[in-house]
Amino acid sequence: MSSIEVNNLSKRFGETQALDDVSFTIPDGEFVVVLGTSGSGKSTLLRCMNGLTQPTSGEIVINGTEITQPHPDTAMIFQQHNIIGQMSAYSNALTGSLKRTGLLSSILKRNDTEDKYRALEALETVGLLDEAQQSARRMSGGQQQRVGIARALVQEPETLLADEPVASLDPGSAQQVMEYLLTATEEHGLTTAISLHQVNLAQEFGQRFIGLKHGELVFDGYKDEFDLDVIERIYEDVNIDQLTGLGAHREDESDSDSGATGATGVADV
């Protein structure tokens, strides 16, 4: 459980203003989707939130602690997976327990038995238990992404951050990964922030939405306020028909897997 406070956050990269005076507060246990075009500052925001990037001004406070470097209770899932190809899926998942394991024990793989179980359970959660001993670099993009999620789960974080976790996945895997993330958030009582490109997935899974455009906060609200006007405000030139078309298509699909109803509302508009 954790609450996140973002206060007047700004970040400059040379001439580029990646984030411009962004402020919002996320209470315990919310599942937040961060939306915006490429270059709108989504990644920078998430990287600031886990302390991998230092803001130019402003601050981020998670559970009363100002974030200046990676925090053991904040897990991160990366768009490029960032798992270690030379290690097995299991070893990668096990690195999630490094904060609880001494140097020597971690090198000799003498982690707590509990952590070993946790790593295997996390792999089971993401459907990779059978592939646990496979070398990670031989896995497909979707599998690698799921290993990254398993690693984050093993960390037993209070805050889960995910930077476009499904950007490189096919629609089916993307759907699955989003489901894992939502389940994990609910089961472990996490506070989760995920940046997404896919509006349809955002509509289906998001509870709270943060919209960024040119580094500025253009929307902050809950599901009931997240409508086509908002999408237009965030994406400007988006073809709404195409988006709703996708939504309608998704509706057909979700009948068969008795899945989410999130897309329906928008398709009806």
């Binding site: 897990a75 991160m76 990366f78 960032n82 190809g85 690195t95 490094l98 904060k99 971690s106 960390q155």
Partner: protein, 319 residues
Amino acid sequence: MSTDTEQPSETVSPAVEEKLKSIQRARRRRWIFAGGALGILLFAFNYALTMVGFSIHELFYYAPFFAEALDEYFPRTTYFGFLPFIDFMQYVDFIVEQNLFHEAGITLAIGFGGTILGFPLALLFAVLGSGRVTPFPFNFLFRGMMSSIRAIPALVWALIYVPLGGVSPFTATLAVATDTVGNLGRLFTDELEEIEDGPIEAIRTTGAGRIQVIVFGMLSQVYTPFIAWTLYIFEINIRIAVTLGIIGGGGIGLILNTQQRLFAYTEMMATILVILLLIITVEIISQRTRSYIREGDEAMGIVELLKGFPKRMAESLAK
């Protein structure tokens, strides 16, 4: 291509004309430069030959002496009463008499022991020399140390260690170890420069400690190339161990030196054959292991490894 109706090939714009001229000027400059460079090269080459007293005349003058020595390098006998060929038995006699394989074993031990001794320090210096671990000006302290070690050849290191008990297999091993720190450390540093930042960041976010980030984020990415480079340095170290033997470091090199001093050319050649056998064996084993590690994907079982050995060996020889 262009929507212009005028013939674009004939009405060339001034800008294009200008560009072509500038390209031609640049080409002319390059030719003049290349001609000058070639002249300097030839002059320096001539100077170098004069300096070392290179003389075709001397080569011809001494050629008969060398030919005479060749007879001793390759002693001949008649097989089956009529077939003249190299008398291998003379080599074998000497190899058995002096127990050259034991001497080769000492050389192998110098190379092997030195490699293992040098490895931990090479690893430490390489990690500390990486800009990701030690902040910029300070990492050059460690790189500088490795450069200084490399600047001094292993042969000279053996001489430096003379006060530790003369030139012996023991000091030769120390010299090889020192050389390994400089050379293997350099290869490790280079390898560490090329790793990706992503996995390091990912490990940092897991709440890992500083050294855990280095071990799991950095070293785990270069684990296989490190083993491959170590094997490569091991190959080189065996050759260094032979030369260290020649200056008195023991092993097969020492025998070679002794026989040369006695002008016992047949025995020298026998020793060289054993050296050849030693180095080629080490190289083949090392190279097969390295390519096995690099390919690494399809993990080969030990039985499969042994069973397929003759075939892979033949393949690698045919390459």
